[in-house]
């Protein structure tokens, strides 16, 4: 609760009464009403950023025209920075270019035709955008929103594929897993170098190619499906899939 004393000190000094003051008159009531409505909208938007009740979801539907128009709805943006979940790890996009007749080329043979979609320095906005793109694909892949992942994969491949060329692209979203703080907690098979390829986990993969002038997308096996296959295989081999947390 702001006290009278605090208010007078917190605002910058008021000019002497002899100088003209802007009249407020009866408009204060209208402005106050608009203020209350605006603050209520902002309150609903911010309070429903992380989790959303049915009531909040309904309110957000109603308020979306205003909040969306002026971008006051954070829309599940992770202001918590991290929750230590797999989705909070760094994700990055790779696009491999293969000739259409040789789409089953092994990953090891694709290094020279591999494009990693990252740009700019680590402090800048540009690099953050590509990280957000990879995050978006990872998020929707985990939620199995195939139409959204397909749209984003198509867009990513469209940057490097040339129309008419006898090539297709494999778009891959990888999670770069992080190390535990204590090195002794590191699982077997994971080196001390945190940049090693063993820390890459495939989250989404799709083939993209031109057909009749349009880009087509065919999703490959996802991380969850691969984990199920791995689980079946590792029952015999007992190899871990997590570097440890």
């Amino acid at each position: 609760m702001v006290t009278e004393d605090q208010t007078e000190r917190s605002a910058t000094p008021v000019r002497p009464e002899s100088e003209p003051r802007e009249a407020i008159s009866g408009g204060t009531g209208v402005v106050s009403l608009l203020l209350l409505i605006h603050l209520a909208c902002v309150g609903v938007a911010l309070s429903s950023n992380l989790h959303r009740s049915t009531l909040q979801a309904r309110l957000m539907e109603v308020l979306q025209p205003y909040l969306g128009l002026v971008n006051l709805d954070p829309d599940f943006t992770p202001y918590h920075l991290t929750q230590g979940q797999p989705l909070d790890d760094d994700h990055f996009l790779e696009v491999d270019l293969v000739t259409s007749s040789n789409s089953s080329t092994a990953a090891s043979d694709l290094q020279n035709d591999r494009v990693t979609l990252e740009r700019g320095n680590r402090w800048g906005f540009a690099r953050r955008r590509y990280r957000r793109l990879a995050y978006a694909i990872a998020y929707h892949a985990r939620a199995e929103n195939d139409h959204l992942t397909a749209a984003l994969a198509r867009a990513a491949a469209g940057l490097v594929l040339e129309k008419g060329a006898d090539r297709q692209a494999i778009v891959r979203c990888q999670q770069h897993e992080s190390q535990p703080r204590r090195v002794e907690d590191l699982a077997a098979g994971f080196p001390e170098n945190p940049a090693a390829a063993q820390y890459h986990r495939k989250v989404y993969e799709a083939d993209v190619w031109f057909a009749e002038g349009l880009l087509r997308v065919q999703k490959r096996v996802t991380d969850q499906e691969a984990a199920q296959l791995e689980r079946a295989a590792t029952e015999k081999n007992q190899s871990p899939a997590d570097p440890g947390r």
Binding site: M1, T7, E19, E22, T28, L35, T82, H176
Partner: protein, 327 residues
Amino acid sequence: MSPVTANYWTDLNQRAGRSWNRFWFAPSDPLLICLLRIAVGLLSLTYLLSFSTDLARLFAAGGLMSADTVEAIRGSSGGRGWIFFSFLDWAATPGALWVCHVVGGLILVLFTIGAFTRITSVLSLLVVLSYIHRQPVLTGPFEPVLSMLLLYLCLGPCGTYLSVDRWRAGRRQETGKKTSQVASCWTATLSLRLIQVHCVAFYLLMGLSKLSGEVWWEGTAVWTLMSQVRSRPVDLTFLREQGFLLEAWTHAIVAFELVFPLLIWKTLLRPLLLLIALVMWASLAVLTGLSGFCLVMLVASAAFLPPGVCRSLARRLPGSARSLAAV
């Protein structure tokens, strides 16, 4: 209803009304929002310029965020497509994109230097919103805060000081033409209060959302951020053996974000809290690489700067002596 109860409700109503009017409508000097105008303008300009190297790659036909891709992402908008307007939608070719980009940049420059501020403030908001709406999955925590600042600066006279508008007003005065006196006004207070309240709400959001995650309770969140190989701008993993330090750092971030909304309203504590905020946001920028977000939160927090500090800061700016002669 008994007289005591009736008096209580009457007294409550009157006091609440007076406090509300004092908080939102007491006239104040617009110097602080003029300083915020410069900072927000520079941030917006930096944001816009960051698209320059990737403009066609992002927004041209066949680009990452082409009109078709954005439509596919947003899905059926049910007649609400006008909400996510963007003047970039008018640019059919890369050349037209660049024209829009340059015009947008010029508008932001004019806003930053305080030229025709009443108009350029609104146009600046529209320019920034156009870029935000055109990249729906590429935005992060930075954009909502910047939008908030631009929106609220439109409400107040943020071109009163340290601006081309002020210079022009001074010239009119010298030539004997009638000019309005610089006066405190309630719109300056309204603009500033909205920024303050919204900024505090963001701090509360950040603090409370962290509490829903174990890593922030267990003190491992800072290490989790530090160990992100691809995004961290500085490698601080040499601190991995300093378990207590990392845990204290984690707890301090959460504690500050929860305490700031409560204590910032005490004017005596503001300089201290703002200093801590500076340290905290600088440390988060080093940890996460989210330099834009940390900067914009610092600018939003600057809405609580004491008046003396504002005047001191303003006097350091080039050409400010004339602009601030009446302060």
